[in-house]
Symmetry: C2
Subunit: 550 residues, 2 copies
Amino acid sequence: MTSYQMSPVMGQMMSQPLLVSGILEFAAKHYPHSEIVSRRIEGDLHRYTYRDCELRARKMAHALAGLGVTMGERVATLAWNGYRHMELYYAVSGSGAVLHTINPRLHPEQIAYIVNHAEDQYLFFDLTFLPLIEAVAAHCKTVKAFVLMADRDRMPQETKIAHLLCYEDLMAASGDDYVWPLFDENAAASLCYTSGTTGNPKGALYSHRSTVLHAYGSAMPNALNVSARDTVLPVVPMFHVNAWGLPYSVLLSGAKMVYPGAALDGKSLYELFEAEGVTFSAGVPTVWLGLVNYALQNNLQFSTFRRTVIGGSACPPAMMDTLIDKLDVQVIHAWGMTEMSPLGTAGVLQNKHLALPKELQRKILQKQGHAVFGVDMKIVDDDGKTLPWDGVTYGHLYVKGPWIISSYFKNEGGDVLVDGWFPTGDVATIDEDGYMQITDRSKDVIKSGGEWIGTIDLENIAMAHPAVLQAACIGVAHPKWDERPLLLVVRRPGMDVTRDELLHFYDGKIAKFWMPDDVVFIDALPMGATGKVQKNKLREQFKEYKLPTA
Amino acid sequence: MTSYQMSPVMGQMMSQPLLVSGILEFAAKHYPHSEIVSRRIEGDLHRYTYRDCELRARKMAHALAGLGVTMGERVATLAWNGYRHMELYYAVSGSGAVLHTINPRLHPEQIAYIVNHAEDQYLFFDLTFLPLIEAVAAHCKTVKAFVLMADRDRMPQETKIAHLLCYEDLMAASGDDYVWPLFDENAAASLCYTSGTTGNPKGALYSHRSTVLHAYGSAMPNALNVSARDTVLPVVPMFHVNAWGLPYSVLLSGAKMVYPGAALDGKSLYELFEAEGVTFSAGVPTVWLGLVNYALQNNLQFSTFRRTVIGGSACPPAMMDTLIDKLDVQVIHAWGMTEMSPLGTAGVLQNKHLALPKELQRKILQKQGHAVFGVDMKIVDDDGKTLPWDGVTYGHLYVKGPWIISSYFKNEGGDVLVDGWFPTGDVATIDEDGYMQITDRSKDVIKSGGEWIGTIDLENIAMAHPAVLQAACIGVAHPKWDERPLLLVVRRPGMDVTRDELLHFYDGKIAKFWMPDDVVFIDALPMGATGKVQKNKLREQFKEYKLPTA
């Protein structure tokens, strides 16, 4: 903790905490007629206004109080993007309790682990997840009841779940005279566990202050640029780092909100985009692949969709080109982490770039982006020495800011900060205009004879080969160089390529010493719950692999 | 002070104060090459980068420490919009002292009054104001020295000022190893006195927190919408509510900044807009009148200028039409007050307005605008009862938010809040979509037989008459109706209009009982330092006026 100088003269401004409920109150009062449209699990479209949402969120907060939920207690959700989930975002946090969003793609054992670790008092879930809840309910020791987010007529006739409540029953029984409480803006508002490729998942515990500041920062013109002229469809799930904060930043902006529910295939998304006049969206590259392919295969254009944020992992350059050049959709590359609420950078151009030729602009947009106001960055070497911003030198990426964690929930993992900075675990370059580009994960980078070899570049080149479906590059022990790159490749069905052909494919594209020492063809890469390759498993599997150069 | 519930669970996010120095540090590190261009008093253009600005601000902060300035002490400026003034914005506030910007248009006696009231320790001034400083210096009891913001060769050979220092001498003598201190974000950052139409000027004392939150709020897409693609020329002076916060919001956005210095005539502005590629500006209607007339008279268009914020007083509809329809410049009507940092509302359209015909859109844009996220509003009757938002009912406008004052500096004027709300002194309507329209000042509204008559409408109609140069409407005592409207008119030189012609001009444009009871032609209206008509002087002058209807 830094010790501050004290000023003898304080400003004479209103003292008002930055609270999550303040966003919804502002939205409902100042944009009462802005719409929220949700594709429900039931299949139909539900639509209501910000004002309706605030009333129902307030009634649900009242219901939570009736269930005995007190300040600071955790209330969990297992749900898609929809209006009831949004009501819970505000009802839980707004009442002073802590919203714990759970990723349903986690293994049931992991779900039970984090429910118990978080000591969730109630768990709200969508109909889709009834079988999952039936499987884990008995293992969730702290949960007093499970609440099905549906009408009474959707409640199961029989269930193994000991305590099962109906969301709309709670709503109907609740009065509308609840008043949002005021409290310290540093109080916890929501909790999100990292996917945890090694060890158990760890929780990032956001505060009301961090959530509101992140909402300001992420809505800015240099970031997501959300305005009252937009219609926003968040494809990124509300169980994934609070849908990158959109349930907050969209509401304070007065935009129309469209929630897609569980139907995230290309056709369903395209039809919803067109029907509701979506102008702006956000999601991971995999989802855009489905949508882009659907549009191209059916020779379709978007009538209103003009901007999308792509994050989670890097947007393949070919996909960016297709979106911009063929579909007239501007791509904002964004980068962040669960530990960062999540937004760290966004890729938008500056004044001086506007006159550049398209190809040079595209090179800038392909980087992970520029720090959003509120986030500071630096790159350091293994000794913690700050490295220059020249677009070439790469080092461990450290970040700092009011919406970045200082420690994990219950202090799992102990002290995580280094001199007040959060080590992201990424390796990156930063250029002289502040654009950051991830070159690798710190733990994946290959250290060969004192030099670093970035595996992302090696993988991208391999994947550009027509016969390669997937590629991963890992470091394998080498007697002379400490580590050397080994390329693991999954071939496209029905296509063939040899080791030597693949290695020749790198000629002229990389520095000589980056050339993989060998190629191994395998059937599949091990994937984690969030769609990332589990390189730790690959390293374990090939720990004893003998390189031909060794 | 509201008492808060305490949460037993705090978020685990980085604790980082929102400080003015943080804006400059971010700007210099993440947008090091963004430009700041200033037309100097010397006549030439000065240009440097954000990084240069940060270094010089830090050196000046070092110099202030050397002069013995300590935290919380006030340091004054009397200066135009330029790079040295901006350096002081950050050097003074960033070091923990309080920046006191003085309006040079105030009467010298008022300037001496506020310097003494603020207990300014140093006063920095532009060459333009040397005669003014020579006139008031002896009356400024607390000022240890006056600093001329110029090079050594501009220093006067002889002066009556006892302690006169040279800005560039201080800069040259200062080291660059100063580190911005960290302190409580509620510490005072800057001080701005209201023009004070009645009584002495009162000071609004902004905090670091309020300044940073206002910078976030005002840069948002629904407000000024400042991005790294912009080139911004603030015409609104830095001595007028911190140039509406632009020295903060522009820097955090990475935009190019262009400061016009003292040359604010239409020709000078037009040439600077074109030479530097200005895309966005902000100022009061009077300034736009000069620029618009220059452009029209010379049949000129703007190459890059596409958006402007107009505030301070209402933008005449005809000027808005000319800017939008003839010069292709989007107009954002903004409203605020010194007591509000200043931004309260901004007039931008919402999603559902985009399909409206131009005339209906224009009607929305002519209102004062929609609350910026962070500001709450309500309208109340004389008894404090909340009135509906229907666009017709009008009441006293009250505001609330983290960048609105809770009291004046040194508690002049005592308690100013009513149930936690700041009474703006304006009378307004708010429509169902949250757009606010000022209809009058609370003290100017005419109360006739229990009904309110808004004087702004009456004045606007009169001023639409070709023979009317200026018009003001005041309430005059009436035996039956308590008060009735009296219209005071300044005719255009060489043009004539009679009382009856003017009254007929209102036919069909207003409710019958709003019709002024009489018209008096006068030579000039009394104007205050900020260009507003001093209606209190008119009411005093016409206190005994006998209306023909009385």
